[in-house]
């Protein structure tokens, strides 16, 4: 493991070690290990039921893995107070922190944010309010400040309002900021969800099937957006995707899994040529 870490001299953003989880008798993930470099666009592929979304849920702690670790690079400033400065034992050095066992809602504070396969948007709120939820953990004003609209709360609300507008402009949905999210086209909903992830100053964004439900034009736009997000926000992107054209188009490296097991890892070209991957997809992805 240690020899792969410093490959290319690039620091790692995320390291999955021997991850296993079972549901009943079914092993959804079986001793899976891989790692993602900083500022990389990394694709996770596999046939239906391979356990891709399960990997995501294990990383973000929605599922607690039966065994294995998820190490994530965290700046010292983002760590909870009691963990700051002193490298807490077992979490590894070099700013790598084990996510396993942390509460789900604490993950975003560390700089890891995700989207969902079925977009999770609040239809009753305006676009900008939906985006502002992404900044939830950054708010410092307490309930009392907010209830009485004390200057501190108002100032803060204004700052994040501006930030949300900027992010919305970045994805080209700022003209609809006050419209309700309910009833917006699917492409816009996906953009709201992506904009929301940008509010938390993410180090790693996890996208669960970002192209699902998008047409060809929208998918191309998405590819462009993902690239621009990486450039602008200097973050790492990990995505699960079925649209092979998108994956091959934008990913720097790809990890293929099948039935919860590691299959192959490499550049898009290497993955396309890999016989194991071809076998796993046989009959499914002939058209690609």
């Amino acid at each position: 493991m240690a020899d792969t870490i410093k490959q290319d001299g690039r620091p790692e953003a995320l390291r999955i070690e021997n991850l296993s989880i079972g549901f009943g008798g079914l092993k959804a993930l079986d001793d899976l290990s891989f790692m993602v470099y900083e500022k990389e666009i990394f694709g996770l592929i596999g046939p239906n039921g391979a356990g891709k979304t399960t990997v995501f849920n294990c990383i973000t702690q929605f599922y607690k893995p039966d065994s294995g670790n998820v190490f994530f690079r965290v700046e010292n400033a983002r760590l909870p107070k009691k963990e700051k400065k002193t490298d807490s034992g077992g979490d590894g050095a070099d700013g790598m922190v084990n996510l396993v066992g942390r509460p789900v809602h604490s993950i975003i504070k560390l700089g890891l944010v995700r989207t969902f396969q079925n977009v999770e948007i609040i239809p009753e709120l305006s676009l900008i309010d939906n985006v502002l939820i992404g900044a939830h953990v950054d708010f410092k004003s307490n309930m009392f400040d907010q209830a009485f609209r004390l200057p501190r709360a108002r100032r803060e609300e204004k700052i994040y309002h501006e930030k949300a507008l900027e992010a919305m402009r970045f994805l080209g949905i700022d003209d609809k900021k006050d419209e309700l999210a309910g009833g917006q086209p699917y492409g816009v909903l996906k953009k709201i969800e992506m904009t929301r992830t940008l509010m938390s100053n993410p180090r790693l964004i996890i996208l669960d099937e970002p192209a699902a439900g998008l047409n060809d034009v929208e998918t191309e736009e998405l590819a462009e957006i993902i690239r621009r997000i990486r450039e602008q926000y200097q973050c790492t992107i990990l995505l699960v995707e079925h649209d092979m054209r998108l994956v091959m188009n934008i990913c720097d490296r790809i990890c293929a899994i099948s039935f919860g097991k590691f299959l192959a890892m490499g550049s898009p070209e290497e993955i396309q040529k890999n016989t194991l991957v071809q076998e796993a997809y046989l009959g499914e992805k002939e058209d690609e």
């Binding site: 993950i107 939830h136 953990v137 209830a147």
Partner: protein, 348 residues
Amino acid sequence: MNPTLKNIQAGAILKNAHVQFIIFGVILCFLPAIAASGAMKSSTLSTLAFVLIYSIVSIGLNLLLGYSGLVSLGTAGFMGLGAYLAAYFVENLNLSFWLAILAALVVPTIIGVGVGIVSLRVRSIYLAIATLCISEILLKTFEQLEWFTNGTAGKQSHFPVIFGVQTDRAGMFIVIVVALVLIMMLTHNVVHGQLGRALHAMRSSEVAAQAMGVNILKYKLVAFALATMYAGLAGALYLFFLKSSYPSTWNLFLSLNVIAMVVVGGLRSIFGTIAGCFIIVAIPELVLKKLPVIGDINGLPYIFSGVLIVVVIMFFPQGLKGLADLIVVAFRRKGKKQTADELVKSAD
């Protein structure tokens, strides 16, 4: 140019929710004077006071039911607790009105948070069950704990002295209006800030909310604590206005009626909730009871709220708020057409 600019500014000010709340409050403050002049029956003023008191409770429940998607069946119990605490503080301990209100705010909230910590960890239906239980326990306590509540004979109180001024019915009415307007403002602030967005996120999808860093248990507790606090306050105001409290008032039917007020008024709407309270509380009292034959039916208000809930859920799931929105949209369309016509004309 100038007059239109002025119009626009005036329009913007009127659109400010806080200004609307204050105007609403000021208008309500004229009601006691109208009643004193004889233009309105004094019993009508009482009914309206109860509408306003229940508005406070319902706005609290709306935070829970509308924003957070949680159900409480314990509203009546917490309201009753607020009422008895207020009475005990003022009558037995000879403490001031303000301390009584403080007690009515704090004690039910603490009990509410305790219940919430136990029941909110699991699925939300258990909150409904737990609150129903606690409400029934409180009801039995009100009946049995005679040193505190004077039992079924009922606890009597007086109009309070506020800032050295002895209030009367009209004065208490104004106090209730002020309390309601404050509650409306606070609630508006809360739901339009970070906290409100967190509640929205939680209702919409707990999973997504957690991914955005919302601590589900914390925000469920906050919503529940606020709802309980509002109920306690309303209970205290109820006592000071009616000058008495009987255990039988604080039963399950009251809790269900408060849910009806929220549902009929429209989830997530402050003015809608008040309209809902007016319909559920005032219509049976002021209109239905005066009708021939129908007016003599026993338990008429409950039948009325039951039928109304069914009708609203079937035909207007958005409640009165949704109905009002539809009307506004219809008018706007008409207005837009007109301004468009005018623009065309002026261009000519």
